[in-house]
């Protein structure tokens, strides 16, 4: 199936792409997608996915699925284990950039 990975801000600096269509296996999870992308773009990609303030103990994912926050337990009760579907848009964005 085809999905699109979208890279905001610093992610586009790491990948040198704004987005990329990807052919992936059916029911690939977001966690597995991150592993696939980390093979292409390295550990820095994975680090950016989960970067949060150093003194914060809470988990945080800088990831959205079809413009919905993956951190929302109500929308995504299994979080990173959410299985992707044909046509999904997975966006990666860490706070930062110019003004």
């Amino acid at each position: 199936m085809q999905i699109t990975a979208r890279y905001y801000g610093f992610f586009s600096t790491v990948t040198r792409k704004l987005y990329e269509p990807m052919q992936v296996s059916d029911s690939l999870t977001i966690a597995e997608l991150i592993e696939v992308l980390a093979k292409s773009y390295g550990y820095k990609f994975t680090r950016l996915c989960f970067i949060r303030p150093l003194y914060s103990e809470r988990d945080f994912m800088n990831i959205t699925l079809n413009h919905q926050d993956l951190n929302s337990a109500g929308k995504f009760p299994v979080g990173l284990q959410t299985e992707l579907k044909e046509g999904d848009l997975v966006s990666f964005g860490v706070m930062g950039g110019a003004a």
Binding site: Y8, L89, S91
Partner: protein
């Protein structure tokens, strides 16, 4: 001048009066700060503090629509003050056309009811956040890159602040690739946050990351939990 917005249900003469009585600081007058200042001047905000130590350069003009080619080499803050007063002659404008440091902020922001943080670096944004939390002033912080942008509004006593969301360990870019429509979109969102906060109409969604995507159009709200040990707002 403001009849079309006074006609908005729930805004009215009372909302206009609140804007007229408000003082707002614009920290940075680039691709985000310039357009945001235009919207606030047009909306009738009574007093603006314009802070920018840079001069207009050719590479600014793809997004900094407050300026044109006749302004190259001139002080951004001075040019902005002139343009904004042409738009709204009743408005008071204070110009700070020098580079500032954190120790300057308390004096500059004194008396302001809202701050638009249009600085480029996270370290500067965090300094603005610290002072705003200390003074009890709401602020909208803007971020823009390529075809995506983000706005985070922090209201003291209402959810998380910027330091709950990021710190100095987050990456910085030296030169940011960006389209003018992106900074314009962030500017509109920040100016809107100021108007909502100043007038009490609507909800500026304090404590949420508002992430805007122009390449695959959509907006995402991401709640940032308040950090009880946050050095800026946790006390």
């Amino acid at each position: 001048m403001w009849s079309r917005q006074i006609a908005i249900p729930g805004f009215g003469e009372e909302g206009q009066k609140k804007l007229k009585e408000s003082r707002v600081a614009m920290l940075g007058l680039g691709g985000v700060g310039g357009p945001a200042a235009l919207y606030l001047a047009a909306a009738g905000v009574g007093s603006l503090v314009l802070v920018d130590g840079d001069c207009v350069q050719l590479s600014n003009l793809n997004r900094q629509i407050l300026f044109d080619s006749s302004d190259l080499g001139k002080s951004k803050a001075d040019v902005a003050a002139k343009r904004l007063q042409q738009l709204n002659p009743d408005q008071e404008v204070e110009v700070v056309d020098r580079q500032i440091e954190e120790r300057d902020l308390e004096a500059i922001l004194a008396g302001c009811r809202f701050v638009l943080d249009c600085f480029d670096r996270n370290a500067d944004r965090l300094a603005v956040n610290r002072v705003c939390m200390l003074l009890g002033i709401g602020a909208a912080h803007g971020f823009a890159q390529d075809l995506s942008g983000e706005v985070f509004t922090a209201i003291p006593g209402d959810g998380s602040c910027l330091a709950c969301a990021l710190d100095e360990s987050f990456p910085e870019t030296e030169v940011t690739a960006v389209m003018g429509v992106t900074t314009g979109m962030v500017a509109v969102s920040m100016a809107s946050a100021a108007i909502l906060s100043l007038t009490g109409i609507g909800d500026p969604m304090a404590g949420y990351r508002l992430i805007y995507d122009l390449a695959f159009p959509g907006m995402t709200r991401v709640l940032v939990g308040k950090n009880p040990r946050c050095a800026a707002c946790g006390r």
